[in-house]
């Protein structure tokens, strides 16, 4: 069944009060871009909040305004789909720090100039504070569930831990309760690529009409490798050459994988702000849910009464199964009802966005209760 493309249905909430941040500052004039699908019932208890990943946005099912591509989770969200908009009121909000409508470093500061590097460093919990402000404005006291993959999963864990009364279920896919040294290392490579680009200009590139596109593209290329599995790369590209019969003995993109990565990097710069990339990767690196709660992860969930479900993928080496198990053990120690499954899929970390029917079944089953 094909449905008509859903065009941009963005709404924007402007917060009346400054948003307090973990870094000690507060962010004034916050705007939160979001979209909703499905009807909120009279009891206001059928809402599901979907949290997006690092370079994602609130266009979960609507077409992306810059690329025109369908929403990032159309295969999961919609009428009759695992996250069923005939049954649930689905909310997806752009995180603060992003560049897709919510306040971020490219947004104007109170002086009218772009924030740039004057934007305060934010955390995953700060992003969640933005979501909570949105739920307050929408009059939703308690969510049926909060759902997210990757960085979205971090927001799910943070929301369930820090605002336990706001959700009755939490679904965490391909995620972690803390960023590992390896995770931080890959992000640092990306940030350094951006900051080494002369066009970055200490983050003040907005008035020059050109940003650190080369640096951002390299950052995206490095990150993109971490989203795929070696098995997947080999199957898709192997050592095949790009539109040529022989190696050129030069530094053109001889190999298909090189050409693919260059394209991924380049097209990313059309849709994403380099400073946003710095701030959001920083927020992820700072994420350590146990550290926020006295060093013991089980303590993070002491006030929670939610049901939890965690899903990992066997080829995901960015947030491997052991990270999900770590969360599961903490939830067990906290006595909370938790389900966990490691699914087999060839696509690495990106599996949560791709065609994995077993994931559909788990999500649908977990949410229908």
């Amino acid at each position: 069944m094909t449905t008509a493309p859903i065009l941009d249905e963005s709404k924007v909430l402007e917060l009346a009060d400054p948003l307090p941040l973990d870094g000690g500052q507060s962010l004034p004039g916050v705007r939160i871009a979001y979209e909703t699908h499905g009807t909120l019932n009279e009891a206001r208890n059928n809402a599901i909040l979907i949290c997006h990943a690092l370079t994602g946005d609130h266009h979960v099912v609507s077409n992306h305004p810059k690329t025109g591509k369908p929403g990032w989770w159309v295969r999961m969200v919609g009428p009759g789909k695992p996250i069923d908009t005939d049954r649930f009121h689905v909310i997806c909000a752009n995180v603060i720090g992003s560049c897709m409508g919510s306040t971020g470093p490219a947004s104007p500061a109170p002086d009218g100039e772009p924030w740039g590097m004057r934007f305060p460093v934010i955390t995953i919990r700060d992003m969640v504070r933005g979501h909570i402000a949105l739920l307050d404005a929408l009059g939703i006291e308690s969510l049926h569930a909060v759902v997210g993959g990757s960085m979205g999963g971090m927001q799910v864990l943070s929301l369930a831990a820090n605002f336990p009364e706001r959700t009755r279920a939490a679904l965490v896919i391909a995620s972690t309760a803390r960023h590992s040294a390896q995770n931080i290392a890959f992000h640092e490579v990306g940030r350094q690529a951006i900051m080494a680009d002369p066009e970055w200009r200490e983050g003040k590139y907005y008035e020059h009409g050109k940003g650190p596109e080369k640096g951002l593209a390299v950052a995206r290329m490095a990150a993109h490798i971490t989203y795929l599995s070696e098995e997947g790369l080999t199957a898709k590209f192997g050592r095949r050459l790009q539109d040529r019969a022989e190696k050129t003995f030069g530094f053109d993109a001889d190999f298909q994988i090189e050409s693919y990565l260059r394209y991924q990097g380049l097209s990313f710069t059309d849709r994403f702000d380099a400073n946003s990339y710095l701030y959001i990767t920083r927020a992820m690196d700072y994420f350590d849910l146990a550290e926020e709660h006295g060093g013991l992860l089980a303590n993070a969930f002491a006030q929670s009464k939610a049901r939890f479900c965690l899903v990992s993928f066997d080829t995901d080496w960015l947030y491997p199964t052991a990270e999900s198990r770590n969360v599961v053990h903490a939830l067990n120690a906290a006595g909370l009802p938790v389900s966990f499954v490691e699914l087999s899929a060839p696509f690495g970390h990106d599996s949560f966005l791709l065609d994995v029917p077993a994931l559909d079944r788990v999500i649908e089953g977990f949410l229908k209760q």
């Binding site: 049901r307 479900c309 198990r325 599961v328 053990h329 067990n332 120690a333 006595g335 009802p337 938790v338 389900s339 966990f340 499954v341 490691e342 699914l343 087999s344 077993a358 079944r361 788990v362 649908e364 089953g365 977990f366 229908k368 209760q369």
Partner: protein, 197 residues
Amino acid sequence: MTALRPDLAVIAANVASGSSLLDVGCGDGTLMAALRDQKHCDARGMELDPANVGTCVARGLAVIQGDADKDLAFYPDKSVDYAILSQTLQTAMRPDMVLEDLLRIGRKAFVSFPNFAHWRVRMSLLWNGRMPVTRLLPIPWYETPNIHHLTINDFRALVKERGITVEGQWFLSGDARCSAAAANFRAEHAVFLLSRS
């Protein structure tokens, strides 16, 4: 509701209403679902096979993909009324350690297993001189998950040696029951309710 497997029916009949339990090796969650729906139990499960875990989650059950040999260590002491191990003991790497974990996690433990001293198994071994392949043990030796076959008398000896209290015991031959005295010869399945004082 389909009828439960006989050993599961025994466990279901003897679990207190409203109790909490951990079903280790819960399969597709049949027992957990029955106890949740009929006895309002707070049922949690652990299962090795991801397809089974998916089925359980789709049934609304809280089930963790895990291995009884490795992942029971992460459950707190006395965190449930019953720890249940049905038809899984003989598949463990270290059944004795799994048994100790069950009695640490649960205030009581149900353990069920196929009896390798059942007369049909004995006959098969005696006449054919080969590892028995029977109705209850249908898989040949080289691919069976049952790596630690045991008899009812073996289990009784282990329980005694470890100072574990037997609070209940049921012996099944098909749908019929048999006496404790004849069990090691006549029972296909045994179900024990255990505790440690």
